[in-house]
């Protein structure tokens, strides 16, 4: 199993997992690329990616963990308003796990169902790094 001590280690695990699961060339998978919107991942692809990461590292991340991680334990009714628009509290949380987000531009615009569409390869690497550190 690959030991995950540096960012390079994590990249060396996450990058091929994403490329192989999605059938993409290595250079198509960049850290900034969003998994679902840009690379075209469907839920079965995410499952595939997570199982590939588990196989090479032993780190188990459930598909349901992804959205939980993104939402940071904030209850649905506080994360989005009655029209499913992400609240300011929700946006503050999103900025923590997806620092690339321009939360000012997204304020009052971002719908709950669109959130995962912004999740990038880099964001996944950050999650894997956090889990690796927690299990070390």
């Amino acid at each position: 199993m690959t030991q995950l001590t540096t960012i390079d280690d994590i990249y060396s695990v996450v990058h091929p997992a994403v490329a192989e699961a999605l059938g993409l060339d290595d250079d198509e998978v960049t850290p900034d690329a969003t998994l679902m919107d840009e690379l075209g991942a469907e839920s079965i692809d995410l499952l595939d990616i997570l199982f590939r990461i588990e196989r090479s590292t032993g780190i188990k991340i459930q598909a349901a963990d992804l959205s939980e991680y993104v939402q940071g334990g904030i209850p649905d009714e506080e994360f989005g308003d009655e029209n499913e628009i992400i609240t300011e509290k929700g946006l503050t949380q999103l900025k923590k796990v997806m620092p690339q987000l321009d939360v000012e531009a997204l304020s009052g615009e971002l719908k709950a169902e669109q959130v995962m569409g912004h999740f990038t390869v880099q964001n996944l690497m950050t999650l894997v790094a956090a889990r690796a550190a927690a299990s070390a």
Binding site: A21, I44, L47, D48, F51, R52, E54, R55
Partner: protein, 257 residues
């Protein structure tokens, strides 16, 4: 010994085709979990026979029509035999009746054991199979799932469901390194179909079979072994009849030739 180092779980493995399959896989070196619902003695005999051949085996009680029990059987196999690579979803029952006389409970029961058992077994092994990116599932279907027969509508529907599920799960799970196939016996003289053979020893059925006879449980086990082994490594989503040609035949009586 093509299955050395592999672990197999056969549901409904104490009798009939399940028993023959457990013994066949063990003969190729696979450690075998022999699942049974009621007949512990028969399951223990299968286990002993396998162990006498120098291969590991355990008997596992559990009703696979109940998801939690199926999960328990899978977990125990992995814990006690050190892994799991081959799942044979074999457990099945029949409650034959004319539709006119059939109680709603009778189709539901047959469906929940035959198809429910396949669904539950499949779902229960997925975390393990997907994680190791390696696994083979063989579902025990029947030619009844592809053709019609009076008095077997519930059984046939459950097998038809297994056939559809086999194709879908093969497609869905291929990317995780999991192959899924089904074998479709015609008539096999086991306890399950004994009523059908009561009248004339099966003579009237036998003469309608192009190969003039019935498959034995061993014939079916041989096909399961083939689909479980690496030699069929590029085969998935297949429904393999073991029916002596019945399904290929246009059943309109005797030819003039």
């Amino acid at each position: 010994m093509e299955l050395e180092g592999r672990v197999a779980l056969v549901t409904g493995g104490s009798r009939g085709i399940g028993r023959a399959t457990a013994l066949r896989l063990a003969a190729e070196g696979a450690a075998v979990g022999v699942n049974y619902r009621n007949d512990e003695k028969a399951a223990q005999e299968v286990v002993r026979e396998i162990q006498d051949g120098g291969v590991s085996a355990i008997a596992l009680q559990g009703d696979v029509s109940d998801y939690e029990q199926a999960e328990g059987v899978v977990a125990k196999t992995i814990a006690e035999l050190g892994g799991l690579h081959v799942l044979v979803n074999n457990a099945g029952i029949a409650k034959d009746a004319l539709i006119f006389n059939m109680e709603p409970a009778d189709w539901l029961k047959v469906m929940s054991v035959n198809f429910g058992g396949v669904f539950n077994g499949t779902k229960a092994v997925l975390p393990h199979f997907m994680s190791q990116r390696d696994g083979v599932i063989v579902n025990m279907s029947s030619m009844m799932g592809e053709r019609g027969w009076t008095g077997e509508s519930n059984y046939a529907a459950s097998k038809g469901a297994i056939n559809a599920f086999t194709r879908c799960s093969a497609v869905e799970l291929a990317r995780f390194g999991i192959r899924v196939n089904a074998v479709l016996p015609g008539f096999v003289p086991t306890d399950l179909v004994s009523e059908l053979l009561e009248k004339d020893g099966g003579k009237s059925i036998k003469k309608q079979v192009p190969l003039r006879g019935f498959a034995s449980a061993d014939d079916v086990a041989e096909a399961v072994f083939f689909l479980a082994a690496a030699r069929s490594g590029f085969i998935t989503g297949t429904l393999l009849p073991i029916d002596g040609g019945v399904g290929a035949q246009l059943g309109l009586g005797r030819t003039n030739w």
